[in-house]
Symmetry: C2
Subunit: 433 residues, 2 copies
């Protein structure tokens, strides 16, 4: 049974604190193994990448076959189901349209002292997208990671995807093409992260690496951070549903399971002001589990990490939501906008009874790469700004420097930084002052 709490219960605060503090993920320490792979690829380039790929993916590659050719992508796309391709392109178009609205504006003005000030945004020069192989090869994830880079104007988007035993989901290649990926390599693991970060004879280095992966990939990303930028390290999926008793329990149960089915470490939580509805949802979860193909995973997640919290009143919800800071927040209530306005911490909010979280995983338009493990307290989902950087601009002439320079000289001297002071004062003709 999932955890059951009630805010009326005297033990509620202790139980909720335990829920908040629970670690769902077992961290494998693979740092030493990953450091060896990174050093090897850095030193031996393609040869090392090919060696690891032979060992772990059972693929014999050469520098010439590392890259998936346009003809191979054509052939893969031709194998895809037409209806699925149409859905993929519908999703790509909607994701692109939403992300286009995130493009930042440059700033440029001259202030009252005559100082020209500004900030401008430029795209990152080259981005690497990691895509897991095997069962977790999700075309939607390719769209969500690559499209913001394309909208940002990144000229080079290099994707890596392992093909263990030669297996590759053709929809992943179709998604890469739809998202504007410019090159694809059939490699994975820490060796692929190293190739992207350091470059090899065949693979030019990138400036930033994004995308989900296993413990080795996550550790490799952490270790190359600094040499390149990385995105956040994503944890297991989470959904928090706030629902009143007027919902269909089968709908809400499906929503909880949509995240529980990702991984045994995923977490689904229901907050409701109606204890009888809570019981009905719990029963509906069991009913759905009887038919779902991923029932084993979903049930394990629900049993170990699921929770139902019964509230005195929905007005108690925002404070609890903010403490949980969920990746996904579904507000299946009569006035979702009013409730949303009172929430501060959530990666994405799904408003109303007809907005299941899964719509955001595929076609709504906003990104599905969102902060997990309570990090919505301080971070945001993947977006166009993650693939751009801002440069600030300052321009003084003799007159405006004369206006603001003396304060800089005073502060530099107060900090004991006389060369700082000198570089301003010498232009004010006060160097010898």
């Amino acid at each position: 049974m999932p955890l059951r709490l009630s805010t009326r219960d005297p033990g509620f605060e202790a139980g909720f604190a335990t829920l908040l503090a629970a670690k769902r993920e077992v961290q494998e320490d693979v740092n030493a193994a990953v450091a060896t792979v990174l050093a090897d690829v850095r030193a031996h380039g393609d040869t090392a990448v090919i060696g690891y790929t032979r060992r772990w993916d059972r693929q014999d590659l050469t520098p010439e076959t590392l890259r998936i050719t346009a003809a191979e992508i054509d052939a893969a796309v031709a194998r895809c189901d037409a209806g699925t391709l149409a859905a993929l392109h519908e999703a790509a178009a909607r994701i692109e349209a939403f992300h286009r609205r995130q493009q930042p504006e440059a700033l440029s003005f001259t202030d009252a002292q005559g100082v020209r000030l500004g900030a401008r945004w430029t795209p990152v020069g080259a981005v690497g997208i990691y895509v897991p192989g095997g069962t977790a090869a999700y075309p939607s994830s390719v769209l969500m990671n690559a499209m913001p880079a394309r909208v940002a104007g990144v000229p080079r988007i290099a994707m890596v995807v392992p093909t263990p035993d030669g297996v590759l989901n053709p929809l992943v290649l179709a998604a890469a093409r739809a998202a504007g990926v410019t090159e694809i390599y059939r490699i994975g693991g820490a060796q692929a992260v190293a190739a992207l970060a350091y470059g090899t004879d065949t693979i030019a280095p990138v400036d930033k690496i994004v995308g989900p992966g296993n413990a080795y990939v996550a550790a490799a990303k952490r270790q190359v951070f600094g040499t390149v930028g990385i995105d956040m390290i994503a944890g297991p999926s989470e959904i928090l549903v706030v629902a009143d008793g007027a919902n269909d329990p089968a709908w809400i149960a499906a929503d909880l399971l949509s995240q529980a089915e990702h991984d045994e470490s995923s977490q689904a939580i229901l907050l409701t002001d109606d204890a009888a509805f809570a019981d009905a949802v719990a029963a509906a979860v069991e009913a759905h589990l009887a038919t779902l193909p991923r029932a084993r995973i979903a049930a394990a997640s629900w049993q170990a990490h699921g929770a139902i919290v019964v509230l005195r009143d929905l007005a108690e919800a925002p404070a609890l939501v903010d403490r949980l800071a969920p990746e996904h927040l579904e507000l299946a209530v009569a006035d979702p906008d009013a409730l949303a306005a009172r929430v501060r911490n959530a990666g994405a909010i799904f408003l109303g009874r007809h907005t299941p979280e899964a719509i955001g995983d595929y076609v709504a338009g906003p990104n599905h790469v969102l902060p997990t493990a309570r990090s919505a307290r301080f971070s945001s989902g993947l977006n166009v700004l993650d693939f751009m950087k801002r440069t600030t601009l300052v321009g003084c002439d003799a007159c405006s420097l004369a206006a603001i320079g003396p304060a800089a000289v005073t502060l530099a001297r107060a900090e004991g930084l006389e060369a700082h002071a000198l570089s301003v004062a010498i232009r004010l003709g006060r160097a010898a002052e």
Copy 2:
């Protein structure tokens, strides 16, 4: 002598690649010591913080005296020089005015399918600012770290600053007050980072920690990342000056030294198209060093990490600038805007002969916390968005879900995620389909 390169030289590419690859910072491995401190503070709270402060700062504190009182801040401000305070407030006002222009706008629209979409920004709930003690206690750094948080609307800004042997720069407290810091604790080191991340009986936990520190502080920030957000880990300062022969060599030499004086690991590089001017700048550097109080540090930086690159033509500059991706880029040329437009990677650009970089350290307005070690290729200086997070919003009604839901069902099934498909299909009345 600093490194001297010329693009006419056949060995140029190799020399420039060596300059790019050079590591200037010795990384101390203090991870194990820091992990012990973090675990101790997490388990024992104030008692552990007070114990480490006694040992390392030689200060006997109690939970009651951890926090610096308003009366103590008043007294410190009263001791500050009036002219310096005026300069500090001028700087604070200019920094605040620039950062106010970074406030993001919310997004809200309904698309052609009737889907309500949006994104809104909310401030981080509580921020911790680390301020080094001793000689590196810079009031300008307090302004630059705290002001963006205040402009973002962060309700709680907690500062920590160690006071070894009771020494504290009163201007640091004055800067904290000017920047809207809401509470100040006289602690530092890994124990202060732990107190901010985990909280103690006296210090409530924060959501994000920013600010510079020594190797222990940097390691502590890395280790608490995830529990809280952190800013980038700043490396040694850098300046890249692109100057033609029409500049006063003494001005340019002062600019190079303004960053070289920070730290022996700092780096100052000159790119010029005029070899005679390069010689004149080198001579002017030596002349300034004869009088500067921090000459030993500046000379060590200039000798070990400085470089002069003579170009055939200033048109060669942008490509080299982009590879160096400097923290600070000064363009002391006849048409700095044209050159700036051709540069992609730089933390901040200073335009023209009358804009020494140091003006940006204090009073120009943009932030002086900028990406170092070539990370301007993929990251930006500290800004208001670093203290906010974005939540995306999606709202469907039955009609708009019917419009976009089928594609989501198709993609979920293609990914083998039937509970995802179910949560949409059940609302479309197609669950049994």
